[in-house]
Amino acid sequence: MIHAENVSKRVQVADSELCILKGTSLEIKRGESVAIIGPSGSGKSTLLGLLAGLDEPTDGDIWLAGEHLNALDEDGRAALRLKLVGFVFQSFQLLPGLTALENVMLPLELRGDRRAAKVARDYLERVGLAHRLDHYPRQLSGGEQQRVALARAFAPQPDILFADEPTGNLDAETGASVNDLLFSLNAQSGTTLVLVTHEPILARRCARRITLSAGEIVEDSGEVVPA
């Protein structure tokens, strides 16, 4: 599903060049659930951004569902994301001017899905927010906002879900319930899951764990277990 080969990312900081990822290669199969772990600054989020086509590598090649990302421009990559990818972010990234329902409808509407409202309502019901459809993000708690984000991520039934520290902004109890929901939805839809986290407990729920340190993969549990 995802294939990265010798991927590097360097950025210019003041007068010097900073290497965030160094020649990273990996292969993620359809339906796999992978946790990318490692200390702060190890390049986890950078790797996630590259694999999702949000950014371009300085060197190396990435294929997403067989499409060579390097060969696509930003709009081409966006079109691919629209078709295949869902996201869950640490800071939820709900649009403040839209209600919970409208936030979930957004990716469906971008695809031109006429059933957007029905599907969105259905997913909000699944995450237990059927009574909060018309609430704005600022009227929801952190846990509720992340559940809306989960509904938004799963509603278009993506092939791959990228999650960046999905419970990083939540307390332990709320975080645990959001995690349960994430894995349950993932199990139901058979989505490939790529998850960046600090939390060992969350990482252990994934079938495979890749550990990064200073921009390099230092450990890959390598297990391939269909979700």
Binding site: S45, F87, Q93, L95, P96, G97, E102, D164
Partner: protein, 823 residues
Amino acid sequence: MNHLRWLMREWRGGELALLLVSLVLAVTIVSGVAGFADRLQRGIVGESHKFLAADLVLKTPRTLPDSALDKLPSVVERALVVEFRSMVVAANAMELASIKAVSDSYPLRGELTVSETPFGAAQTTLEVPASGRAWLDSRLFPLLGLEVGDELQLGELTLIAERALLTEPDRGTSFYGMGPRVLINAADVARSGVVQAGSLVDYRYLFAGTEEQLQAVKTSLQPELTASERWQGLDDSQPQIAKTLQRAERFLLLAGSFGVALAGVAVALAARRYSQRHLDTVAVMKALGAGSRQVTSLYVGNILLLAILATLLGWVLGLGVQNALFAMIRDLVGFSPPAGTLRPLLAGAITALLCVVSFALPPVLRLRSVPPLRVLRRDLGNESLSSGVSAFAGIGGLFLLMLWYTGSIELVLAVLVGVSAILGLAGILVLRLFSAMRGWAQGAGGVLKLALSAMVRRRQANAFQVVSLALALMVLLCIIAARSSLMKEWQLQLPADTPNHFLINIAPEQVGPVNDWFERQGIDSAGVFPMVRGRLVTIDGRDVQEIPEIEANRGSVNREINLSWSDELPGDNRLTAGQWWPDASASLPRVSVEDEFAERLGIAVGTKLGFRIGGLPLEAEVTSLRSLSWDSMRPNFFLLFEPGVLDSYPSSSITSFYLDATDKVLLNDLLRQFPTITLIEMDAVIRQARTVVEQVSAALELVLVLIIGCALLVGVANIQASLDSRLHENAILRTLGASRQLIRTCLLAEFAMIGLVAGLLAGVGAELCLYLIQTRLLDMSASWHPLFWVVSPLGAAFVVAVSGWWFCREVIVAPPLQVLRRL
């Protein structure tokens, strides 16, 4: 995705409201103020045409051949006025009167006011006396001992005194307008037998119609005309009013274009904030798979839909403004406004489009380049908004907008020079100031340290804020100053006690008794000036008839000129060349010449002029040139000699004085005592001119109110632009334990400093701009405004501090967590 649905969702975000209000205001100003100015202008021009009683007048000493008149377009309205002076005789008295004979269609513009009895209640009429009837100045009834219905004789014609004539629209446009008026029907002129070949008669052919029709009349009649016949339009008949209108029109355009420019700045600020707040939205949409084209389509569609909505609302409000303005000054204008045209509406729509394209779209279009990676790294994508392209598009748009709106490249350049100066100055000064503040902040303590540090931290945003506030303030100062100097100049030109009556032909032996009469009646005269009538016959020894260079100004020499003398330079005269009676003895008598007269005839200091006075020659040398104000309504002379030169020539005197309308009956006594003196009544002309000034001034004040509204909008947009970062920062400070009092004082201090700097810059910029506007545009002398330098910084500091605190009060009132979560 449905654009309308997207717009409605976006609307709830709140940022679009300010953008919409700014756009609506721009459209309202253009379609409202321009429409109002257009209608007022047409109304006033129409009103002013009443001074001519027509749109176009041909003045001639003869009747035109029927063949020439028959060729004129039939749609053009026509009337004939014949004026001459003649004795009118009643049973027991006779009086030299100014006779005006008019055809039935007179007046083509304006109306007559009459009363059924002398000095009675005024009523307007569009009728003229029937054949055999006469309408007389009220004053003539007692002078001739007549009652309404009595008979009087004009030459061989017997007329019945039917009514008292109070005003005529075109009184005062002709020399023959002097003296008590008798209005008769044109059909009676021939029957009176008074007008013979060689009689001094003034014929005026009056025309009314569209511009094209009037042009056709001019073209058709031109081949028939001789040099002594001339056309009169509004400009010729009432130069003072034409000038007033021209200035008022320019001022309205200036104010309007400033208003639109301010609205444009508000649009730019609002669009910038809108874009800033959508960086995250666009990043999320892109991460979710929206392409650049989709983003562009949604956002541009949003803005265009908003522009359409703003245009519709602006039209409605603009029409409302037009009508409200007319309703407010209905009593002043005294005429019903002409119907509006579609042009201001179209102008409003184009303004909205231009505002959107040059002010709103550049920041919005740049949203397309926000990288999707921003969802993971919030520092990305911010730079995409701070681009020179937006500034360039904005200034270009401003230029186009103002150029198109005013049609005056001079005006636009004056404004843009001011704007560039203030931007340049602002750039340098603000950056210098901020570098200095960094040092001051370290040395300062408490609140001041916090406020200074906040200023330095947000120096770019603050610099932008200072510049745009300064711009708005500058515009406001310019408008206020230009308005008050215009008003002052108008009032100077026509003070309340402007002389409104002239006495001419005062014999030397009458000067003393006339002065005594003034004293007895408590009337201040403008001084009695001696006057000799003579012709200018040679310039530097050359016969004026043979000087080809003065061909176009032959009228100045083909008539007798009033010559006078004075020891002192008259009060309202100013020397422009030479010296006032230099000490060195001269071989020739010396004369001072009015500068425009001198220019027309190619006369300079040192030129020798030859005169013929009562058949006797006189040669004199020009020793000085003078400028003078013909509008002062005081006796003034093209040629002033040194005392003694004209002593041996027969002279009479002239004076002018102010007389209130209620005291006009005193004139009967004056004329009875001095029957040979000629009285010229100018009060009606002055009253009409003053009415126009009052109307225009009222309109200007109302437009000023709208401009202040625009400036306030810029202020609000400006404060809102930096609201988020301020709220965020102060919420954090409060979280860290800063007291409300500290935050409040800090905010007040920071905003006050921004206002102070902006106010100071605005004072400098306004001074520069006004200098250009006054000297280049409004044809006025430049004046300095020391008050600006004090009032502008202090006033701006106060207003900005209070309004800044008002908009940021949430951070003081609401719990910090609430503020942080909302941002």
